[in-house]
Amino acid sequence: MQDDQTDLIFKALAHPERRRILTSLRQRPGQSLFEICAASMSETGHGLSRQTISQHLDALERAGLLEILWKGRTKTHAARLAPLQAVTAITKKICDEEGA
Protein backbone atom coordinates (compact mmCIF):
# COMPACT_ATOMS: atom_id res chain seq x y z
CA MET A 1 0.00 0.00 0.00
CA GLN A 2 1.18 3.53 -0.87
CA ASP A 3 2.27 5.74 2.03
CA ASP A 4 -0.20 8.50 1.12
CA GLN A 5 -3.04 5.97 1.15
CA THR A 6 -1.89 4.81 4.58
CA ASP A 7 -1.86 8.45 5.75
CA LEU A 8 -5.43 8.95 4.53
CA ILE A 9 -6.57 5.89 6.44
CA PHE A 10 -4.96 6.99 9.70
CA LYS A 11 -6.38 10.49 9.20
CA ALA A 12 -9.81 9.03 8.54
CA LEU A 13 -9.59 7.04 11.76
CA ALA A 14 -8.32 10.01 13.76
CA HIS A 15 -11.81 11.24 14.65
CA PRO A 16 -14.33 9.61 17.01
CA GLU A 17 -17.32 10.43 14.80
CA ARG A 18 -15.70 8.79 11.76
CA ARG A 19 -14.89 5.71 13.80
CA ARG A 20 -18.49 5.66 15.02
CA ILE A 21 -19.84 5.99 11.46
CA LEU A 22 -17.60 3.16 10.26
CA THR A 23 -18.75 0.89 13.08
CA SER A 24 -22.38 1.78 12.42
CA LEU A 25 -21.99 1.05 8.68
CA ARG A 26 -20.33 -2.25 9.50
CA GLN A 27 -23.30 -3.23 11.64
CA ARG A 28 -25.90 -1.88 9.21
CA PRO A 29 -24.59 -1.52 5.63
CA GLY A 30 -26.54 0.48 3.06
CA GLN A 31 -27.33 3.70 4.95
CA SER A 32 -28.12 6.99 3.19
CA LEU A 33 -26.73 10.33 4.39
CA PHE A 34 -30.06 11.00 6.13
CA GLU A 35 -29.95 7.65 7.90
CA ILE A 36 -26.36 8.13 9.03
CA CYS A 37 -27.39 11.51 10.51
CA ALA A 38 -30.38 9.94 12.27
CA ALA A 39 -28.20 7.11 13.60
CA SER A 40 -25.66 9.65 14.84
CA MET A 41 -28.44 11.44 16.71
CA SER A 42 -29.65 8.17 18.16
CA GLU A 43 -26.27 6.74 19.15
CA THR A 44 -24.62 9.87 20.51
CA GLY A 45 -27.68 11.73 21.82
CA HIS A 46 -26.65 14.88 19.95
CA GLY A 47 -27.07 15.36 16.25
CA LEU A 48 -24.41 16.67 13.90
CA SER A 49 -25.23 18.79 10.88
CA ARG A 50 -25.65 17.04 7.56
CA GLN A 51 -22.74 19.04 6.24
CA THR A 52 -20.45 17.82 9.01
CA ILE A 53 -21.47 14.19 8.47
CA SER A 54 -21.03 14.68 4.74
CA GLN A 55 -17.45 15.88 5.30
CA HIS A 56 -16.74 12.87 7.51
CA LEU A 57 -18.06 10.60 4.75
CA ASP A 58 -15.79 12.33 2.22
CA ALA A 59 -12.77 11.66 4.45
CA LEU A 60 -13.74 8.00 4.79
CA GLU A 61 -14.33 7.70 1.05
CA ARG A 62 -10.95 9.30 0.19
CA ALA A 63 -9.30 6.73 2.43
CA GLY A 64 -11.03 3.94 0.51
CA LEU A 65 -13.03 2.90 3.56
CA LEU A 66 -16.46 3.32 2.00
CA GLU A 67 -18.36 1.42 -0.60
CA ILE A 68 -21.08 3.39 -2.38
CA LEU A 69 -24.19 1.49 -3.39
CA TRP A 70 -27.17 3.05 -5.16
CA LYS A 71 -30.54 1.77 -3.92
CA GLY A 72 -32.86 3.05 -6.59
CA ARG A 73 -32.26 6.81 -6.67
CA THR A 74 -30.73 6.93 -3.19
CA LYS A 75 -26.98 6.81 -2.54
CA THR A 76 -26.11 4.49 0.32
CA HIS A 77 -22.86 3.66 2.08
CA ALA A 78 -21.21 0.54 3.45
CA ALA A 79 -17.92 0.02 5.27
CA ARG A 80 -15.02 -1.28 3.20
CA LEU A 81 -12.62 -2.89 5.62
CA ALA A 82 -9.91 -4.36 3.38
CA PRO A 83 -7.69 -1.22 3.57
CA LEU A 84 -7.89 -1.40 7.38
CA GLN A 85 -6.23 -4.81 7.32
CA ALA A 86 -3.25 -3.26 5.53
CA VAL A 87 -2.77 -0.65 8.24
CA THR A 88 -3.30 -3.29 10.91
CA ALA A 89 -0.27 -5.02 9.43
CA ILE A 90 1.72 -1.79 9.90
CA THR A 91 0.79 -1.40 13.55
CA LYS A 92 1.46 -5.10 14.14
CA LYS A 93 4.93 -4.76 12.62
CA ILE A 94 5.69 -1.86 14.96
CA CYS A 95 4.46 -3.87 17.95
CA ASP A 96 6.48 -6.93 16.94
CA GLU A 97 9.67 -4.93 16.62
CA GLU A 98 9.08 -3.35 19.98
CA GLY A 99 8.64 -6.77 21.54
CA ALA A 100 11.66 -8.27 19.78
Partner: protein, 131 residues
Protein backbone atom coordinates in the same frame (compact mmCIF):
# COMPACT_ATOMS: atom_id res chain seq x y z
CA UNK B 1 -50.55 35.02 11.60
CA UNK B 2 -51.06 31.26 11.25
CA UNK B 3 -49.57 28.45 9.17
CA UNK B 4 -52.50 27.22 7.10
CA UNK B 5 -50.85 25.23 4.34
CA UNK B 6 -47.74 23.22 3.60
CA UNK B 7 -46.88 21.81 0.21
CA UNK B 8 -45.29 18.82 -1.39
CA UNK B 9 -44.06 18.79 -5.00
CA UNK B 10 -45.58 15.86 -6.90
CA UNK B 11 -44.87 14.62 -10.42
CA UNK B 12 -48.54 13.83 -11.12
CA UNK B 13 -51.43 15.36 -9.17
CA UNK B 14 -53.97 12.62 -9.96
CA UNK B 15 -51.55 9.86 -8.92
CA UNK B 16 -50.62 11.84 -5.81
CA UNK B 17 -54.27 12.34 -4.86
CA UNK B 18 -54.82 8.60 -5.06
CA UNK B 19 -51.71 7.74 -3.03
CA UNK B 20 -52.22 10.38 -0.34
CA UNK B 21 -55.94 9.57 0.13
CA UNK B 22 -56.14 5.80 -0.58
CA UNK B 23 -52.88 4.72 1.05
CA UNK B 24 -52.11 7.43 3.59
CA UNK B 25 -55.74 8.13 4.45
CA UNK B 26 -55.82 11.91 4.08
CA UNK B 27 -59.08 13.58 2.99
CA UNK B 28 -59.66 15.87 0.03
CA UNK B 29 -60.34 19.44 1.13
CA UNK B 30 -60.07 21.63 -1.98
CA UNK B 31 -59.91 20.74 -5.67
CA UNK B 32 -60.22 23.68 -8.06
CA UNK B 33 -58.73 24.16 -11.54
CA UNK B 34 -55.67 26.42 -11.65
CA UNK B 35 -54.59 26.81 -15.25
CA UNK B 36 -53.42 23.42 -16.50
CA UNK B 37 -53.08 22.15 -12.96
CA UNK B 38 -55.33 22.02 -9.88
CA UNK B 39 -55.30 23.71 -6.50
CA UNK B 40 -55.43 20.44 -4.65
CA UNK B 41 -55.31 20.28 -0.88
CA UNK B 42 -55.82 17.53 1.68
CA UNK B 43 -56.33 17.41 5.41
CA UNK B 44 -55.84 14.75 8.05
CA UNK B 45 -58.94 12.86 9.16
CA UNK B 46 -57.77 13.53 12.69
CA UNK B 47 -57.67 17.30 12.08
CA UNK B 48 -60.23 18.25 9.39
CA UNK B 49 -59.80 21.95 10.22
CA UNK B 50 -56.04 21.65 10.55
CA UNK B 51 -53.13 22.66 8.31
CA UNK B 52 -53.71 21.67 4.68
CA UNK B 53 -51.32 19.73 2.50
CA UNK B 54 -51.04 21.18 -1.01
CA UNK B 55 -50.17 18.66 -3.74
CA UNK B 56 -48.18 21.02 -5.89
CA UNK B 57 -47.09 20.26 -9.48
CA UNK B 58 -43.31 19.89 -9.84
CA UNK B 59 -43.14 21.34 -13.35
CA UNK B 60 -40.89 24.31 -12.52
CA UNK B 61 -37.38 23.53 -13.84
CA UNK B 62 -35.79 24.17 -10.44
CA UNK B 63 -37.91 21.56 -8.70
CA UNK B 64 -36.83 18.28 -10.28
CA UNK B 65 -33.08 18.69 -9.52
CA UNK B 66 -34.05 19.74 -5.98
CA UNK B 67 -36.20 16.61 -5.49
CA UNK B 68 -33.51 14.37 -7.04
CA UNK B 69 -30.90 15.83 -4.71
CA UNK B 70 -32.99 15.17 -1.62
CA UNK B 71 -33.79 11.60 -2.66
CA UNK B 72 -30.11 10.92 -3.46
CA UNK B 73 -29.19 11.75 0.13
CA UNK B 74 -32.25 9.95 1.50
CA UNK B 75 -33.70 13.20 2.89
CA UNK B 76 -37.48 13.33 3.38
CA UNK B 77 -39.38 16.16 1.69
CA UNK B 78 -41.70 16.43 4.67
CA UNK B 79 -42.77 14.65 7.81
CA UNK B 80 -46.10 13.41 9.15
CA UNK B 81 -46.74 12.63 12.79
CA UNK B 82 -48.35 9.42 14.02
CA UNK B 83 -49.21 8.12 17.48
CA UNK B 84 -48.04 4.55 16.88
CA UNK B 85 -45.28 4.34 14.29
CA UNK B 86 -44.95 0.58 14.25
CA UNK B 87 -48.69 0.05 13.73
CA UNK B 88 -48.70 2.64 10.91
CA UNK B 89 -45.64 1.00 9.35
CA UNK B 90 -47.39 -2.39 9.36
CA UNK B 91 -50.56 -0.91 7.86
CA UNK B 92 -48.74 0.93 5.05
CA UNK B 93 -46.31 -1.87 4.26
CA UNK B 94 -49.22 -4.31 3.96
CA UNK B 95 -50.90 -2.07 1.37
CA UNK B 96 -47.76 -1.95 -0.75
CA UNK B 97 -45.99 1.22 0.42
CA UNK B 98 -42.20 0.95 0.02
CA UNK B 99 -40.13 1.97 3.04
CA UNK B 100 -36.53 3.13 2.61
CA UNK B 101 -35.99 3.25 6.38
CA UNK B 102 -37.82 0.82 8.62
CA UNK B 103 -38.83 2.11 12.06
CA UNK B 104 -35.77 3.19 14.05
CA UNK B 105 -35.06 5.23 17.15
CA UNK B 106 -33.49 8.65 16.61
CA UNK B 107 -33.02 10.30 19.98
CA UNK B 108 -36.34 11.47 21.45
CA UNK B 109 -38.33 10.25 18.44
CA UNK B 110 -38.97 7.13 16.42
CA UNK B 111 -38.90 7.51 12.64
CA UNK B 112 -39.46 5.65 9.40
CA UNK B 113 -39.22 6.83 5.79
CA UNK B 114 -41.24 5.75 2.76
CA UNK B 115 -41.44 6.53 -0.96
CA UNK B 116 -44.58 8.48 -1.95
CA UNK B 117 -44.30 7.26 -5.60
CA UNK B 118 -44.46 10.93 -6.71
CA UNK B 119 -40.73 11.62 -6.42
CA UNK B 120 -40.47 12.19 -2.66
CA UNK B 121 -39.38 10.45 0.48
CA UNK B 122 -41.71 11.06 3.42
CA UNK B 123 -40.81 10.72 7.08
CA UNK B 124 -43.20 9.36 9.68
CA UNK B 125 -42.42 10.41 13.21
CA UNK B 126 -43.61 9.32 16.63
CA UNK B 127 -42.69 11.41 19.65
CA UNK B 128 -41.57 8.95 22.30
CA UNK B 129 -43.21 9.41 25.67
CA UNK B 130 -40.92 10.44 28.47
CA UNK B 131 -39.99 7.33 30.43
Amino acid sequence: MRIWITSIFVDDQAKALEFYTQKLGFVLKTDVPAGEARWLTLVSKEQPAGTELLLEPDGHPAVKPFKRGLVADGIPATSFQVDDLDAEYDRLASCGVTFTIDPMDAGPVRIAVFDDTCGNLIQLIEMKKAA
